[in-house]
Amino acid sequence: MLRFLNRLFSRDRDKGGSKNVAMERLKLVLVHDRVNACPQLLEALKEDLIRVIREYIEIDETALDITFDSMENTVALVANIPVLKIKKGLV
């Protein structure tokens, strides 16, 4: 009986609640939705990335691929950038 009442009135149950799952899923879905609503964003980001990386590394620009992915409890920007050659004598 005590245990039942304790459970009934217990405050600290929200750790494992389904809301956390909902929030994580929503965040990822919205990242994709917002990117899809504005495809120019990803293109502009790609171009800028290439420009910066080219200063240090020779890369295969045509094979460059960036996506969004869900990690533990965040959304990650994942870039796959095939390296051709590291420039010498920069450091």
Binding site: L2, L5, N6, F9, R11, R13, D14, K15, G16, G17, S18, K19, N20, A22, M23, R25, L26, K27, V29, L30, D33, R34, A37
Partner: protein
């Protein structure tokens, strides 16, 4: 006199746009303002039944914008409230019977006569939505604390901004404090954080909304209704008053008391 056109929208259907329009319209007239509610859900009109005015319809919005009928003839006066009017949607026509341009002209006409023009938007993002927002000065986005509704609300905010509407405020409807407390429902902060819009108000889940809809009497008429109370507070905010947000669990004082008593007893 120049009023404000506010569109009530959500993307997803069934989250409370029509309920919100009816209650805010009624509550604003209770504050002494002149209000017209425009139902733009052509083919699926509902605001008339929620308001209990379905038997008074003679003309509708399509009759007005296509030229034949004078606005004054089509507006239904709600005899229970001084200054409250309804322009009903057409039930038998297509959404394309009204164009965004016609809607804009209509709204401009209405805001000469009224303090608030509340536009009840249909679900979706097609022609009906485009019509509804075309004459709006600002928007109220209604969302319930569920993944699909929040997602749609986010999309709608994007579309509103793209259409040049920048004052978009959120009403969170049907929140259930008990589910929030046990971690099974998104809370207010979660939703604002995700959507990054300003909060206009929070309306709890309340059976009285259904009872009041059954009777055709908006919940704000029932002074004991929690949802009605929430809508009255939102109306005061729209009317320019500073009204504090109620703590979510204000209705659960008794539970808290029990919890505290029990904790003491079990020590």
């Amino acid at each position: 006199m120049k009023g404000k056109v506010i569109v009530i929208t959500s993307g997803k259907g069934g989250v409370g746009k029509t309920t919100t329009t009816a209650n805010l319209g009624t509550a604003l007239t209770m504050l002494g303002r002149r209000v017209v509610m425009v139902d733009t859900d052509i083919g699926l009109r509902n605001l008339d039944v929620v308001m209990g005015l379905e038997n008074r319809i003679v003309f509708d919005i399509v009759d007005v914008v296509t030229g034949g009928t004078k606005l004054k003839q089509a507006l239904i006066k709600d005899k229970r409230f001084e200054g409250l009017y309804l322009l009903p949607a057409a039930q038998t026509k297509e959404k394309t019977a009204v164009s965004p341009h016609q809607m804009k002209t209509l709204c401009n006409e209405l805001k000469k006569e009224f303090d608030f023009v509340l536009v009840d938007c249909p679900a979706g993002i097609e022609q009906g939505f485009k019509n509804a927002i075309s004459g709006a000065d600002e928007a109220i986005v209604v969302a319930v604390p569920e993944v699909s509704s929040v997602r749609d609300a986010d999309g709608i905010v994007g579309l509103l901004e793209a259409a040049g509407l920048n004052k978009n405020q959120l009403i969170i409807n049907r929140i259930r404090p008990r589910m929030v407390k046990r971690g099974d429902m998104m809370d207010i902060e979660d939703m604002i954080d995700i959507l990054s819009v300003d909060l206009l108000g929070v309306v709890p889940e309340d059976e009285i909304v259904i009872v009041s809809t059954n009777k055709g009497e908006p919940a704000v008429m029932d002074t004991s209704s929690r949802a009605g109370d929430a809508y009255r507070r939102i109306a005061r905010r729209l009317n320019g008053e500073e009204v504090s947000m109620l703590p979510l669990n204000h209705s659960e004082g008794l539970m808290n008391k029990f919890r505290r008593m029990f904790k003491m007893a079990s020590r």
